[in-house]
């Protein structure tokens, strides 16, 4: 039984390692989250007692996050941006999936790799290059025609485009993977049963893709929500939450209200992540 014993010891060590890893994963988040409840003006030890002020208090200096106009508007802009990015990138991700799974065209492999590239371009560079192009175009138009295209100036529109530019790769990959598993005979069967092309798309193909579309929309939403590097360069006066928080940390001074926001975001993202797992799980149809 010697090998069984060494195996057991090995396995115990292995499990301990895995546990340590998850502690490592959780530690900074727990730290960031738990200081939200510290009754102190600074997110630091010592522990001054438990409070919910950083969420609900409505007066300075302990202005809670739900009364902090700037944080709330940051949250709002983050939502707006993330929702637009999710919608756009899922839409384009879906057309891309159809393009690459269903169509044959010259240089397909090359284009497929091109589709992946945005994911590995550093976010900072994406932000900058889009900023440069947009400003140059806007400046040229202004110089030439005296018309100011404010859409091309830093602001929500550019932030959305900037995030969209790499998040679409993610949604495309997720939806493509699902569409690849789609059994074409399902469409033919529907067609054979008398459905029109549009009806087949609407009743068979899109419903089949739905879990992937929802899951990738959630991923897109979350990635957009947390994006910093690309957004940093493209943001105008309507800054999303990460930028607001960064400004707060770097330019004003952090109070545990930032921990409170972190806490809320963690809970929210956790729930969304659960939803995305839930939509993908009951999938005996995966074939």
């Amino acid at each position: 039984m010697a090998h069984a014993q060494t195996n057991r010891a090995l396995m115990a060590g292995y499990k301990a390692y895995v546990a340590a890893f998850f502690i490592f994963l959780a530690a900074p988040l727990i730290a960031a989250g738990s200081f939200a409840f510290n009754d102190s003006l600074f997110p630091a030890l010592p522990w001054q007692g438990f409070t919910l002020d950083w969420f609900f208090n409505d007066t300075e200096p302990k202005l809670g996050m739900f009364h902090d106009r700037r944080l709330l508007s940051g949250l709002y802009y983050s939502f707006v941006i993330a929702a637009m990015v999710a919608a756009l990138s899922v839409a384009v991700g879906t057309t891309n999936a159809f393009l690459f799974v269903r169509r044959e065209f010259p240089f397909k492999t090359f284009f497929y790799i091109v589709m992946i590239v945005p994911l590995v371009i550093p976010g900072v560079i994406l932000g900058i290059s889009i900023l440069v192009l947009a400003s140059n175009v806007a400046n040229a138009v202004y110089d030439r025609f005296g018309v100011e295209i404010s859409l091309l100036r830093p602001g929500i529109f550019l932030v959305v485009l900037g995030q969209f530019s790499f998040i679409t790769t993610i949604t495309s990959l997720v939806i493509t993977a699902r569409l690849k598993k789609f059994d074409l005979s399902l469409e033919e069967a529907a067609f054979n049963l008398g459905a029109s092309r549009a009806r087949v798309l609407w009743t068979i193909t899109l419903p089949y893709l739905r879990p992937a579309m929802i899951a990738s929309a959630i991923v897109a939403f979350l990635v957009s929500f947390e994006n910093f590097n690309t957004t940093l360069f493209l943001v105008g006066s309507e800054s999303p939450l990460t930028i607001t928080m960064y400004d707060r940390m770097a330019k004003v001074g952090s109070t545990p209200v930032l921990n409170a926001v972190s806490f809320v975001l963690m809970v929210g993202s956790g729930l969304l992540a659960l939803v995305s797992v839930a939509v993908q799980r009951p999938d005996p149809s995966g074939q």
Binding site: A195, R199, P284
Partner: protein
Amino acid sequence: MTTDDAFDLECLGICKDFGAFRAVDDVSFRIPSGTFFSILGPSGCGKTTLMRMIAGFETPTQGDILLKGRSVLSVPPNRRNVKMVFQHLALFPMMDVYENIAYGLRCAGAGKDEIAGRVADVLTRVALPDLARRQIHQLSGGQKQRIAIARCMALNPDVLLLDEPLGALDLKLREAMKIELKLLQHQFDTTFVYITHDQSEALVMSDYVAVMNAGRFEQVGRPEELYHAPKTAFVAGFVGDSNRWSGRALEVRADGIKVETEAGLTVVATAFGDGAISAGDAVEVFVRPEFIAATRPGPDAAAPGGNTHSGTVDSVLFNGANSRVLVRSPNGTMIEADVVVTGGGNDLHEGDPVRLDWPFAQTMCFAAGGA
């Protein structure tokens, strides 16, 4: 048109080219109403392509397809009254059984009550009346099979196409479904066109079988005809098990053709198929194992009109009623013969000397290269 009306489906000189490759080559046939018609052929011979043309998913390069006497070439697939059961069934996983069956009815614009009625009716006919609200993944393999058929039958098709629908099932279930499919066809009394590469499926279920090879129909006929009177060497080899020897005709006699096989075995065979055979022609000879009697060598003379050879048992493949011996003849030819193994003292064993007898009449001889 009146004469044609007796046929649910007719194909006239259908060809299909993929680039330079001809997948279906000049196929013509007519299927009388209410027939179970099988297309049997090896993988890649063009069966699916033919079926897809009938369903409208491919356009023939040449030829015409008629449904109930009317050409349907210009009718898009969703308007042809031909329904199809796909190899992997293609039940819609995001709908339950009811919705799967209702799908085609909805497409046809049927009313709510009508749909409910038709679904209930067709479910009863496939003997699954209580499954309407089941999800697809909750069904067993055989139930799925029947639902796939029900989904098509709810639309009263002129013809039902089935593309190797049993291919994905496991052994035992496949056996059971063979019989069940035939019963369902009786039940609906609709023309079934059934594709398979499994000869036993085709033989067991069909009224007529077309044997297809390399894009062409080699022979169309009742199962017994194909089995007992194959017209080509391909059909003889593909339908049923056979010993198959290549050889040369030595002499054309009144009672048969004397053939020497490549390994040096001399047999007398009967000419099958259309090609005339003269002395010196290359031929293919087929003998089914069940016509070869393997016995312990005794003093009896060869029966008249029969080939007799001796050999040694190389191995006994016991398989109950389908047991077989492999016999090695002195010149090294392996000959398979069906035997009955009872476990008693009479059984043949490895190494036993053995005598093989089979009639000239069951020794099928085809001109080589004829097909």
